[in-house]
């Protein structure tokens, strides 16, 4: 029996810093020192802490190291594993690890809901998931619950969709269950494309079976026997891990015909996106699975009534699904104890930009931006002061440092004093211009106009009336754009102009912008 375990955090991010190489090196050295009968070296998902090096934890000691080089690995093996002395120089402050745990009151692993297995198990080994109560919820549902019981628990838990719109999940399932049809579908929206977000990727790479289990439960609850996971084409790590997980789930009888000996059957497969942000919109995603360009459909009817192939369809986000098995096993009451009364549970936030602890944290719903930036994120690096924060991704609001108590969603992008509002607005609008699907005029033309006006301002060719024009464009888009993407463009544009108007005026007055990244527009050499 091996007494010590070395867990190397491996995900798309840490691989870039040599995680795979370090893992092999650990194994090599463990063999070399003849420790292989006592020490096991395993891969795990990401703990969501992004520092300079690769995160390595040693259990049962509960020590966390950050290794940046071959020497570091050698030190950990020869000191910690061989001699039993912790290498304090490489240890990560326990506080940071704790900050990545969900609540301040209860810093225990059981309140980590969505990320309960991420960074703990080997995502490619189904037995490890099962050992942590994996597929127990599916077993419970199939053996002891009616479909309506499952929906009742979800409704009682007040779980809301984690994809952005926040629709109550139980209600969505209920609508789908009540729509009469012989064929229904369960879709998982894994087309994560909101800039700054990578929570879904970490869940899929670190705990793929949680998504599969939840989708099977959803299938049973609403009477669907087929499901699709729609993943971004660029998410190679997620695609590989989910493919392997689906294959294993079929072999173990958690997918396919007569699951766990019951009359319930469920088939699941993966569909790839091909580089279109708009496909994160649920009806565009449906169009894409049907083999068409991802252009949104008119709503209503909503997918629970007429979705994929015009059949009743549940579309939920990866994170939403990852909550479901936990709720089934622990009950709605336990879930409601976390978060706020109207929205219970936890939320996974990604902290990006000019912030010390880039990465992700799972915290109760209702945590303030201030806490996220300073308590969990460790503040700004290099002694810089805070200029602005954008919450909720590129479609989110830009806020000033004095507004950090607002409610928020998903991503926290921190920008320090060296960033420029005009530049930020321009980059955000260029993104939307690139991703607009072109179906409706307000979005197609509105984003183009916004970019060209902002370009003018950034080069010192703006007028004050341009700002009013930009605000009018955002109003028009909000009111008349066909889908949520076009409507959402208004938020960042309006908020950055309203909250940082002085910055824009400075550019218009051609005052040299003291903090601007591009002080004078340099001619970029861009031959065709």
């Amino acid at each position: 029996m091996k007494t010590q375990t070395v867990l190397v955090s491996v995900d798309s991010g840490s691989v870039l810093k040599g995680a795979r190489y370090y893992k092999e090196l650990f194994q090599e050295l463990v063999n070399q020192y003849n420790l292989d009968s006592m020490v096991e070296v395993l891969e795990t998902g990401s703990l969501g802490i992004y520092r300079e090096g690769v995160l390595v934890s040693i259990f049962p000691d509960g020590v966390y190291y950050e290794v940046c080089s071959k020497d570091d690995v050698e030190k950990v093996v020869s000191e910690h594993l061989l001699k039993g002395r912790a290498v304090s120089a490489l240890m990560i402050d326990e506080e940071i690890i704790k900050k990545n745990q969900p609540t301040e009151e209860a810093k225990t692993s059981e309140t980590r809901i969505v990320l309960r297995n991420v960074g703990v198990i080997d995502p490619l080994v189904i037995e490890e998931y099962i050992a942590r109560d994996g597929y127990m919820a599916l077993g419970k549902v199939l053996s002891a619950m009616k479909p309506s019981d499952v929906i009742d628990i979800l409704k009682e838990s007040a779980l809301r969709g984690r994809g952005g719109a926040g629709f109550p999940t139980g209600k969505k399932w209920e609508f789908t269950a009540k729509t009469d049809s012989d064929v229904k579908y369960i879709l998982c929206n894994a087309d994560e494309g909101e800039p700054g977000t990578f929570k879904d990727r970490l869940i899929m790479e670190g705990d793929p079976h949680a998504v599969i289990e939840a989708m099977a439960i959803a299938g049973y609850s609403v009477g669907a026997s087929k499901g699709y996971i729609y993943i971004r084409g660029e998410y190679y790590g997620s695609i590989d891990n989910l493919n392997k997980a689906i294959q294993d789930a079929y072999e173990w009888g958690f997918l396919g015909k007569n699951i766990l000996g019951t009359s319930f059957s469920f088939d699941l497969t993966i569909r790839l996106g091909a580089g279109a942000y708009i496909c994160g919109e649920e009806t565009a995603l449906i169009e894409s699975i049907e083999g068409k360009p991802g252009r949104p459909r008119f709503k209503p009817p909503y997918p629970p009534v007429a979705g994929l192939y015009q059949k009743p369809t549940v579309v939920n986000n990866v994170e939403t699904f990852a909550n479901v098995p936990w709720i089934i096993l622990n009950g709605a009451k336990a879930f409601k104890e976390i978060g706020t009364p109207s929205s219970s549970g936890t939320k996974v936030f990604t902290l990006v930009g000019n912030i010390r602890n880039r990465g992700l944290v799972e915290v109760p719903m209702g945590t303030s931006v201030f806490d996220l930036v300073y308590r969990y994120g460790g503040g700004l690096p290099g002694g810089k002061s805070l200029k602005m924060v954008q919450t909720g991704g590129t479609a989110g609001t830009f806020i000033r440092p004095d507004q950090l108590n607002v409610k928020l969603d998903g991503v926290i992008l921190v920008m320090d004093e060296d960033s420029c509002s005009v530049e930020a607005a321009k980059v955000a609008m260029e993104f939307f211009e690139h991703e607009s699907c072109g179906k409706c005029t307000p979005c197609r033309e509105g984003t183009r106009m916004a970019v060209s006006i902002l370009e003018g301002i950034s080069k010192g060719n703006g007028k004050e009336s341009d700002l009013d024009l930009l605000l009018r464009i955002s109003d028009t888009m909000e009111e008349t754009a066909f889908c949520g993407l076009g409507q959402a463009v208004a938020m960042p544009l309006r908020s950055i102009i309203e909250n940082f108007r002085e910055d824009f005026l400075k550019h218009i007055r051609k005052e040299p912008c003291p903090v601007c990244v591009y002080e004078k527009p340099k001619k970029r050499k861009t031959p065709a």
Partner: protein
């Protein structure tokens, strides 16, 4: 490369995807195009598109509608290596603008352009979900993070060597 053999291969790929992944009619078009594009090194030529249309029983116009809508697909030849640069704000604020400038200088092409030697095509992409290690670029299916202009020059040189050795 003998053209006929390649086309046979395309047929086989489509049949395999159909068998393994199809739950409903018509739901595998995009998955097939991904695989076909891999065979032709980053683009889908018209003769292959015709086979896809025929095998999946969809009009050729529909295949082209899909090919031209999604940015990961191309109907024109592209370089051996596709460099996708994240142009989202999280990468931008951590030094992404300098990375883009370096790529322009190093490759002497703009976005959408292919280098004269046919090795590289430079493209923009949305967030790659690796903001923890930004700025980030992707070359074919490999990611590179925590980039600096010097590192970019180094990476490109590495691929150049690899590409020239291959031809």
């Amino acid at each position: 490369m003998v053209v006929d053999q390649t086309l046979e291969k395309v047929k086989d790929i489509i049949e395999a995807v159909k068998k393994e992944q199809s739950l409903e009619e018509g739901d595998i078009l995009i998955n097939c195009l991904h695989k076909v594009q891999d065979v032709y090194q980053n683009f889908v030529p018209s003769e292959a598109a015709e086979i896809v249309a025929e095998s999946l029983n969809v009009p050729l116009s529909k295949v082209y509608e899909v090919l031209t809508f999604y940015t990961m697909f191309s109907t024109k030849t592209r370089g051996t290596f596709i460099i996708r640069v994240c142009n989202s704000l999280p990468c931008h604020v951590t030094g992404g603008a300098k990375i883009i400038e370096t790529l322009f200088e190093e490759l002497k092409v703009g976005f959408g352009g292919t280098t004269e030697d046919g090795l590289f095509t430079l493209e923009k992409t949305g967030c790659l979900g690796l903001c923890g290690v930004g700025p980030v670029i992707m070359i074919n299916d490999q990611f590179y993070g925590n980039l600096t202009p010097e590192r970019v020059v180094e990476i490109i040189a590495g691929y150049r060597k690899k590409g020239r050795a291959g031809t």
